[in-house]
Amino acid sequence: MKRLIPATLIFIFIIAVCIGAHMYVDNACDQTINDIENYYNQSITGDELEEKWQERKENMALFVNHNFLDKISVYIGQLTLTEEEDNSPEFDTVYKNIESILELIKAEQKFALHSFY
């Protein structure tokens, strides 16, 4: 019985972290989309967008597959190129790519039936 108490405490802690992570990652994905839209509306600069993403990426890396985050970093880098180069990739295409990866990340955190099979 003495082992049950620490194991239960750890289990509760892990469940709490999982719920917290789900909320944090969900929020971070929405904020990233907002930031990209703000960048498109020229409310923030490319450097600011990259800085905000880097900050968020470090925290998200605790819970999200690093491959996804690295891909978003590359796409955000491509987005900010539009400031400097004319032959940069189409904004909409890159935006859609980022959006779909963020949706994948959100879906991975969610409790979904398809995760079972």
């Binding site: 019985m1 082992r3 049950l4 620490p6 194991a7 239960t8 750890i10 289990f11 892990i14 972290v17 999982c18 992570a21 890396a61 605790l62 819970f63 999200v64 597959n65 690093h66 491959n67």
Partner: protein, 226 residues
């Protein structure tokens, strides 16, 4: 590279804590559900080590969830006979009154060769000597020999021998183990008296064992036992 080293250290600590929480068991003594959990933990711990793209939290969380489940299930199995039977199965008698139960052997998919092999491992070389043999849930075979094949015991010859006293290590590598002295209810003064009688000091001793009756064995550093 450094992250791999750090991940390895953290996961090693996590798995150690997890196994410690589950309790001490040898692989051979494990119940089926314990074996499954142990195999799963080793597999899960390897994933974040091999793939550094995976967040380590996923592995750690899965390990502790498994440990929690194992503890809950073992408590349920302890409290309920049905649960124990469901999770661990039950022991099967394969030899009853000296006769091999062939149906039981078929049920557990055990061949005669396996049975004889396991009997030999129990120092039983003649099948005719066996009264009962039980295949335990952890795969071990427990054997009860027929009366005429059982070794003679002190009880059989009605000898009046003193009770065994458990010897404990009281000095290890020159250091006195006070916990052992407390368990033996022997004072440090009595220990010192024994050492004085042997003309030695704790620092000169590699290992000393002592029992409640004062019987002792001393192995000096770089020397032989006395």
């Amino acid at each position: 590279m450094i992250s791999t080293v750090l991940r390895t250290v953290i996961l090693y600590l996590v798995v150690t804590v997890a196994i410690r929480l589950m309790g001490k068991r040898q692989i051979g003594d494990m119940q089926p559900n314990e074996l499954v959990i142990t195999l799963l933990i080793s597999e899960i711990a390897a994933i974040p080590l091999q793939d550094t793209e995976q967040p380590m939290f996923i592995g750690v969380a899965a390990i502790f969830v498994l440990v929690f489940l194992e503890i809950v299930i073992s408590i349920l199995a302890m409290k309920s006979f049905c649960m124990r039977k469901l999770l661990n199965g039950k022991s099967i008698v394969v030899i009853k009154n000296g006769i091999i139960d062939q149906q039981a052997m078929r049920n557990v998919r055990m061949t005669v060769v396996d049975l004889i092999e396991q009997l030999r491992a129990q120092n039983v070389f003649n099948l005719a000597d066996v009264a009962f043999a039980v295949l335990e849930v952890n795969g071990n075979l427990s054997v009860l020999l027929k009366k005429d094949a059982q070794p003679v015991t002190v009880k059989d010859v009605e000898l009046n021998l003193p009770d065994d006293a458990l010897p404990l290590p009281v000095i290890s590598d020159g250091k006195i183990i006070y916990e052992s002295l407390r368990a033996l209810e022997i004072s440090t003064q009595k220990l010192n008296k024994i050492l004085k009688h042997k003309c030695t000091t704790p620092k000169q001793i590699f290992l000393m064992t002592l029992d409640r009756d004062g019987n002792h064995t001393i192995i000096k550093k770089g020397g032989a036992s006395k």
